[in-house]
């Protein structure tokens, strides 16, 4: 009771002083309020981002823990390290030994073998595609269709001629251009066109080998791929969703394309530009006019007319020609193709007024007529990769489907990975499988390679007592290859399902039954494997994910730094104000001391002032933070960037209220400020009682 009354006395005196120096009080309270606000909002968002990021990373690729060889030269970084290039994380020679050892722990739910690598996707160019279509038409034998294709081809050749004329103006290698012009002139002749229409093989081959390369190969696409046990993967990574096609069946070689990769790199260029503009203009509400990026996209769009033209047959062309006319895009003079080219170009000229309508029209009327994606489920791609020994290995892989991670559809980081079967990964990585060994054997027997021991090499090559004869060398044109080696593809597109469960993997995801004891478990698993002679590194999802995982750590450091700065400023001001305030209050302090107040009483009085200021300020800060968080919880924080989408595990983050953070932040801020003013308060307590007697009126 007594203590309470004394406290209320202290509080009363403190309030009086705070009111007396209200400007100072407001400044300190604001600073501490801002500190609380920042602490609550910052810590809440960090915790939420950490949770959503954890969901993203654990649920997509990483699992709770990742295991890889202790011999690794680089750290595992699933979503890429800050440095480009392939990482050397070593190999796990036989995944089954590791898996069996790990599954003995009751906490471990599954061990999913993995391997991440990068390869190149082989692609032709538009003329190659046209020629393929023509060959198909020739096989079909419909003269109308064949005619259309030939007309189409003629159009492309004409384009090529124009490009060449442009190049001639700027290139130094005139000889080369003249040669190419001659080649082109030959195919422009009516007789040549007729032979193509007849299906003359030599004419077609001439186009394929001499003309098509002139337009250059499309830039190769680099594909990141994750090789894994697809069944096990699907069971343990709930974010995996099939967007198109079907799931890669177990025991089948094949690839699941990432939807993001397909949308960004394998989609028709015109469609892709429409998509990009739609995202910026409609979703982000950035007007075309005045935005450099939008203007660039808009300028680029009409140049993509051939991306539409190349896929149309006559009936489709006529239909499009008519519907464009109805849309109010008139045709000019000339052939149907020439008219349509002009119409399509005009259609692709978009601005702020017509964009939305044109976008819709494109997807309703044009998209169904063209090949929207370079690769679709059911097709087979050729994946080329450098093996660990540096050779290029190519592998045909059937595209079974297209997938994305739920909530991370827009994220480049999560969308960069394509999924292939583990057996193909081993092959691309350069490990000899039984079937690839068989293929090699077949090739060897075809070309007559014999196994020769080194010590017998000289004999085998120059032996048989044959005397070396010196022949005079005659320059002769290289003869065309007389025969090609016919290698039947002996790599089957199926394999024994149990094959994935044993053998090589580069890393493995460890899925736990619950993630409570992540850190402790990490160490005990590592130790346990080591005791069995399996030397591995086990890292948590955050570490395994590479720079993305470090993001939260960095943001936390920045936040702590910012809070630290605010604190230091606040504390300097608080201490300073107490020390200056003491000068004004010497008589009051002296009087209290004279009539029997201990030094501790004076200290308490000053601390009470700071505590009250801190409490008022941080309560206000807390209420503002609470209001903001509640509002954001309703409205969501939109992700402005791909990395952020990944961190948010979706396009928006809806902050949750964490009572701990909300209650403790203001108390902590007040507490620290109060403690930090102890020095100044003690300084104030040094006022002697005798000073109360002195007259300084």
């Amino acid at each position: 009771m007594q203590v309470l009354e004394l406290s209320s006395l202290i509080v009363k005196v403190a309030f009086r002083n705070l009111w007396l120096y209200r400007l100072k009080t407001v400044v300190i309270a604001s600073l501490l309020g801002f500190g609380s606000f920042l602490s609550i909002v910052g810590l809440t968002l960090l915790r939420d981002v950490e949770a959503t990021m954890q969901e993203s990373i654990i649920g997509s690729v990483a699992g709770h823990l990742q295991m890889y060889s202790k011999k690794a030269k680089d750290d595992l970084a699933i979503f890429g390290s800050t440095f480009m290039g392939r990482q050397d994380i070593g190999v796990l020679e036989d995944i089954s030994t590791y898996r069996d050892a790990l599954l003995r722990h009751p906490e471990v739910q599954a061990v999913i073998p993995m391997g991440i690598d990068m390869g190149m996707l082989g692609r032709g160019n538009e003329m190659d595609e046209s020629l393929d279509v023509l060959r198909a038409a020739l096989k079909g034998g419909d003269p109308v269709i064949i005619n259309e294709r030939v007309e189409q081809l003629g159009f492309q050749i004409e384009q090529l001629g124009r490009e060449l004329a442009e190049r001639k103006k700027v290139t130094q290698d005139q000889v080369e251009v003249v040669k190419e012009e001659a080649d082109l002139a030959k195919v422009k002749e009516a007789a040549f066109t007729e032979s193509v229409a007849r299906g003359d093989e030599s004419a077609l081959q001439y186009l394929e080998t001499r003309i098509a390369p002139l337009s250059g190969e499309k830039l190769p696409i680099y594909l990141m791929y994750l090789g894994t046990d697809i069944d096990l993967y699907r069971q343990n990574f709930p974010k995996f969703r099939v967007v198109a096609g079907e799931v890669l069946p177990p025991g089948q070689r094949g690839i699941m394309l990432s939807n993001k990769v397909r949308e960004d790199q394998l989609k028709n260029t015109a469609a892709r530009l429409f998509d990009k503009l739609n995202k910026r203009v409609v979703k982000l509400k950035i007007p075309i006019k005045g935005d450099a990026e939008n203007l660039r996209l808009v300028q680029d769009l009409p140049r993509q007319y051939n991306q539409i033209m190349a896929y149309l047959d006559r009936a489709e062309a006529v239909e499009l020609h008519e519907s464009l006319k109805q849309l109010g895009i008139p045709a000019t003079e000339g052939t149907l193709i020439a008219q349509l080219v002009q119409q399509v170009k005009d259609f692709l000229k978009v601005d702020d007024q017509n964009f939305e309508a044109r976008y819709r029209w494109f997807y309703e009327q044009i998209a169904p007529k063209i090949k929207l994606y370079e690769i679709s489920p059911g097709e087979t791609i050729l994946l080329r990769s450098y093996t660990k020994s540096g050779y290029i290995k190519s592998l045909p892989l059937k595209v079974y489907g297209v997938y994305s991670f739920q909530g991370l559809e827009d994220s480049d980081i999560a969308g960069v990975m394509n999924i292939i079967d583990l057996v193909s990964l081993r092959e691309l990585y350069g490990q000899m499988t039984e079937s690839s060994l068989k293929e090699l054997q077949e090739m060897r027997s075809q070309v007559g390679i014999k196994e020769i021991a080194a010590e017998n090499a000289e004999d085998a090559l120059f032996g048989d007592g044959a005397a070396a004869t010196v022949e005079s060398r005659v320059e002769a044109p290289t003869p065309a290859p007389q025969a090609t080696i016919q290698v039947k593809p002996v790599i089957p597109d199926m394999f024994d399902v149990t094959e994935v469960g044993k053998g090589l993997a580069l890393n493995a995801a460890i899925k736990l039954k619950d993630d409570v004891k992540l850190q402790d478990l990490k160490e005990s698993l590592e130790k346990d494997l080591k005791s069995q002679g399996l030397d591995v590194k086990i890292v948590d999802w955050q570490q395994a994910s590479g720079f993305v995982g470090q993001f939260v750590v960095i943001v936390r450091l920045v936040l702590i730094f910012a809070l630290g700065v605010i604190f230091v400023v606040a504390l300097v001001i608080i201490n300073n104000s107490i020390i200056v305030g003491t000068l004004n209050r010497i008589r009051e302090i002296g009087t209290m001391r004279a009539i029997g107040a201990q030094k501790s009483f004076v200290v308490e009085m000053f601390l009470a002032e700071t505590a009250i200021t801190g409490l008022i300020g941080s309560c206000v800060g807390t209420f503002i933070a609470l209001g903001l968080l509640i509002w954001l919880g309703d409205y969501g924080i939109p992700s402005s960037h791909d990395v952020v989408t990944f961190l948010f595990s979706g396009p928006r983050l809806y902050p949750k209220l964490h009572p701990g953070i909300i209650l403790l932040s203001p108390l902590f801020v007040t507490g620290v400020a109060t403690l930090a003013s102890v020095y100044a308060a003690r300084h104030a307590a040094h006022v002697t009682p005798a000073e109360a007697m002195q007259e300084k009126e």
């Binding site: 004394l6 009086r16 009051e588 002296g590 009087t591 029997g596």
Partner: protein, 226 residues
């Protein structure tokens, strides 16, 4: 009758830069309980220093001061403070009330610091004192709303509320007009008689000196006449 204060061969030296100032020289003084003593002398004669020593706000350089028989020169700040709280009351020239508090709260302040009194006990003491100094109507007023004389009455009540054996007053009438000052001295004298409280106060007002039962004159840090 026992001694309220005994001062034995006390000297006080204040350091002042590289030299020092001797404020008191070999003071010998004894004050009986219940005395109404004034310490008089011109400015700088050592009045305040002597009062500070008796008031346990300072310790002597040499010699010893006994307050109610208790030697103070070896006491720590905490013990001196406790001694001030329990044995001494203070009245200041500028009243030194705590402006934010009411009359009642100002008087209550030492009791709260002291601790150990119930609310009833405190109220009984404060009410009695307020009646004695004639301030009951002003009990709930803020101290800065009072006149100088009223403030000094509050200060007297505050000094007495812990029932100290000795009350020290530093020029209690210096900031008051002569009529008010006289009434304050009368009040102090009445309390001195009824409560048997020892009063020691400094002044240089001859009218006030006349009221004292004993005048100690100081000059240049030495007792001229006790």
């Amino acid at each position: 009758m026992s001694l309220a204060v005994r001062i034995e061969n006390v000297s006080k030296v204040y350091p002042l830069g590289k030299t020092s100032v001797q404020a008191l020289k070999n003071i010998e003084l004894a004050i009986q309980e219940g005395e109404f003593t004034t310490i008089a002398g011109p400015s700088g004669c050592g009045k305040s220093t002597l009062l500070n020593l008796i008031g346990c706000m300072d310790t002597p350089t040499t010699g010893e001061v006994y307050v109610e028989g208790q030697p103070i020169s070896q006491l720590k700040d905490k013990e001196l403070t406790r001694l001030r709280l329990e044995k001494l009351g203070f009245i200041f020239q500028s009243f030194n009330l705590i402006p934010v508090l009411t009359v009642y709260q100002n008087i209550e302040f030492p009791l709260l610091i002291h601790g150990g009194f119930t609310k009833k006990e405190r109220a009984a003491r404060i009410d009695a004192l307020m009646e004695e100094v004639g301030l009951q109507p002003q009990a709930q007023q803020k101290s800065n709303e009072l006149s100088g004389g009223q403030r000094q009455r509050v200060a007297i009540a505050r000094a007495l509320v812990t029932q100290p054996r000795i009350v020290l007053a530093d020029e209690p009438t210096a900031n008051l007009d002569s009529a008010t000052g006289e009434r304050i001295i009368d009040l102090m004298k009445t309390i001195n008689r009824t409560h048997k409280t020892t009063f020691i106060f400094s002044t240089h007002d001859p009218q006030v000196m006349k009221q004292a039962s004993r005048v100690v004159r100081l000059k240049d840090g030495a007792v001229l006449e006790a």
